[in-house]
Symmetry: C2
Subunit: 155 residues, 2 copies
Amino acid sequence: MAKEIERKFLVNDSWQPKEDGQRIAQGYLCTEPAHTVRVRVKGGRGYLTVKGRSEGIQREEFEYEIPLRDAEAMLQLCDGPLVEKVRYREKWGAFCWEIDVFSGANDGLCVAEIELPDDQAEFPRPSWLGREVSGEVRYYNSQLIKHPYSEWKKV
Amino acid sequence: MAKEIERKFLVNDSWQPKEDGQRIAQGYLCTEPAHTVRVRVKGGRGYLTVKGRSEGIQREEFEYEIPLRDAEAMLQLCDGPLVEKVRYREKWGAFCWEIDVFSGANDGLCVAEIELPDDQAEFPRPSWLGREVSGEVRYYNSQLIKHPYSEWKKV
């Protein structure tokens, strides 16, 4: 078990990938407010992840690597469409950003996440960093299967 | 991944345990018809199990052993009360029965399950075997948290 302390930001157009990213497909077996159960295929490996309720920017997380074949079969059991994205990793000072460029129903969405040692930690802000969206529910991957980004624009 | 082929029966009063059973506590992160996600603590070990939709007496099952501490923490995330039972194993001919004696909200319920190599397999019937309840949804453990056996009697 790990406590996840993460902050999430939008990414503005000045950001460009510096190297190849890792393709991710993920789905959800459960997206209740109290907990989510995620199935993920990332870089040819499978993962099953349970996350508890968000408390501010903290969240309980339990992640297990599972056989790829299991993960692929379980993706078929998931509710709704899958979340598809390419993940890029970029160092900035002592920190490492994960930049997710979505495709499919969430095409056009790009967010950057940073994992922090504690919820007061300071970190340098890259020039491409946009507005903070930590805790904004609609940016949760578990919500992007129900209300994909492509539908937001119409509102 | 495994395909579970199981048949489930009630157990009549003539059955008596021959040796100590194994205490099981389990809860559900998800109990949708299409899939369930179960957290279980059994004999001091933790398990996370995803099951697909039942097709007759067959069901896709993915089970992973996880750290006990994770399982105990995840039980706190589960919906509703836990299912508590003691599981006994009993050989009968070439087959092994699992007999679950429920307690707590499901006190009084006792069911026996047998795992079969295929859905046509024949097996000897112990004298204590009651009515078959394979596929009866209310006997699913995932339903016993929502509609426990103690409440059936009132209906």
